[in-house]
Symmetry: C2
Subunit: 315 residues, 2 copies
């Protein structure tokens, strides 16, 4: 079932006290440079350092009590892992998390710190979906999908719902890969133009929108945006995307680094490469925003110190 | 005249639309590590990157129109400079700023970008107060003092007023040097214990509180906390300090760096060394906070990329 704005509202009630309301940041330099009124929704300040807490909390909270008691399982490149493990710990249940062995160290550590069992796999040669499904069957634990789930999409949509309670944006820039966040935000802001941002060379969403049919990325494509490397978008997000996404724009690794440095220098927030992708698209002038009220979803901030320092040094 | 809570309330009304309300951030790791309920007041997310915007905006807004029209002058190691130049630009008046030649580059640049004229001086051999007073006399511009002014103290106090509108803290950690912020916060939170934090070896406030008379720092003491190197506290802040400050604790450069790295890793905010001093005092266990509701005033985030990267690398 495709979720609706009502589901997003229900999610907001369900996740209260687990996820937090994040601020909308303003910056004079950003406004001057773009000619727009820009609001940065700082999801790096979300519990667990990324928006993923919203969807995970909603999905787990919506489980029947006897199902929830058996624990949950998730596969994730990082931020969904942290979110599911944190939400599971909130509900006092066991979490098993399947993560690629090359995930950023900080994401592996933040997942383990919440008491989750972490199972690593080889991103190139193994399928996380298959491993997740097998473990789920063996343990009887509910699989909390990272994006192709109505409760997860509705949970991520609360990001947009909070925006709508403060301002009425003309246009929203959202990073997308599985598409759960972008789809949820589109539901929450039915009047806004939705521009999604993906890494250069990993442009399945742009191609899917053009083809009208889900396209897949070639395996093994690398990008500094480690949170945006899903093989293909989910079916549910795509159904929403076809009705609501205006377009998908691509950003380079260097543009992501420049945006991280801009956020450091002017906004004083820490963004991981994927979390800076939407800001990168704005700063690179991907879309004319002159005179508009713009929202940038800065989706997360879980980045290793080395990667961050390199991004600052590159400027 | 020593300002009061009423002056802080008046300041809040005056600076609306110039300064912004900053969020109170929570973090699971911080709570677990300290055994307290910790709220971080993220003044690095303030306009201009530091709390100083509050006091500068209040002082300039309170000037009579004919006085204000002649422009303003300020002397500052950095964040007060940025704040006065930004507030002056908001009111459409000229600002002249006297800054030490060794101020962090980012602070010099952020001051110039607002159209202010920057006059540099040698921190060791020249007196910024004397230069400021001379320029003020020559130009007829009003001097906006950095801390020893009732309007500035009341403006900085709005930081605490915002805290009081959300929670009732038992104890507040505030960085202090001139003492304007700490004094203002003390006014705004009359029931809270106030612990101020200063750099190691620059402990004039601890000595002043012990002596009951203002003490002075030796010239030329160095610290990574470039915003906390005032020669001595102001008379007005000291009058409030004697009634309200519980104690002053000192933090080392390394402790400040560790706190910057903690804020990067867990809070996802950028703190300059001075802005991290209060968090450093908490993390070093300077005061027993077990079971308490604690507020950390994280006062600013204007730090050069090199200094920031070194702080992260030191961990």
């Amino acid at each position: 079932m495709i979720p609706t704005l009502e589901d997003v509202r229900a999610a907001a009630a369900r996740i209260q006290g687990i996820a937090v309301r994040t601020p909308l940041l303003r910056n004079d330099t950003l406004d001057a440079r773009t000619g727009a009124r820009v609001f940065v929704k700082a999801e790096c300040l979300q519990r667990g350092g990324a928006f993923k807490m919203r969807g995970a909390a909603n999905a787990i909270a919506a489980l029947a009590l006897e199902v929830r008691a058996k624990g949950v399982i998730a596969f994730s490149s990082g931020n969904h892992a942290i979110a599911v493990s944190t939400a599971a710990s909130h509900f006092g249940i066991q979490a098993t998390i399947v993560m690629p062995s090359d995930a950023p160290r900080i994401k592996l550590e933040m997942t383990r710190v919440n008491g989750a069992e972490v199972v690593t796999y080889d991103r190139v040669n193994e399928s996380r979906e298959a491993i997740g499904a097998r473990l789920s069957a063996e343990r009887g634990a509910a699989l909390i999908k990272p994006f192709d789930d109505a409760f997860v999409i509705a949970g991520q949509g609360t990001t947009g719902l909070e925006v709508s309670e403060e301002i009425t944006p003309d246009i929203v820039f959202v990073p997308a890969s599985g598409g759960g966040l972008a789809a949820g935000v589109a539901l929450a802001l039915p009047q806004a133009r939705i521009v999604v941002v993906e890494p250069d060379g990993h442009d399945d969403i742009a191609r899917s929108l053009a083809a009208g049919v889900l396209q897949r990325n070639a395996q093994g494509i690398r990008s500094i945006c480690d949170g945006l490397l899903t093989e293909q978008m989910g079916d549910l997000p795509f159904a929403i995307a076809q009705r609501r996404f205006e377009c998908a724009v691509a950003v380079s690794d260097d543009a992501a680094r420049r945006a991280m440095a801009f956020a450091f220098r002017h906004l004083k927030i820490v963004l991981e490469p994927s979390g800076a992708a939407s800001l990168a698209a704005l700063l690179e002038g991907a879309i004319d925003v002159q005179g508009l009220t713009v929202v940038i979803i800065a989706s997360g901030g879980n980045v290793d110190a080395e990667t961050f320092a390199l991004a600052l040094a590159a400027q």
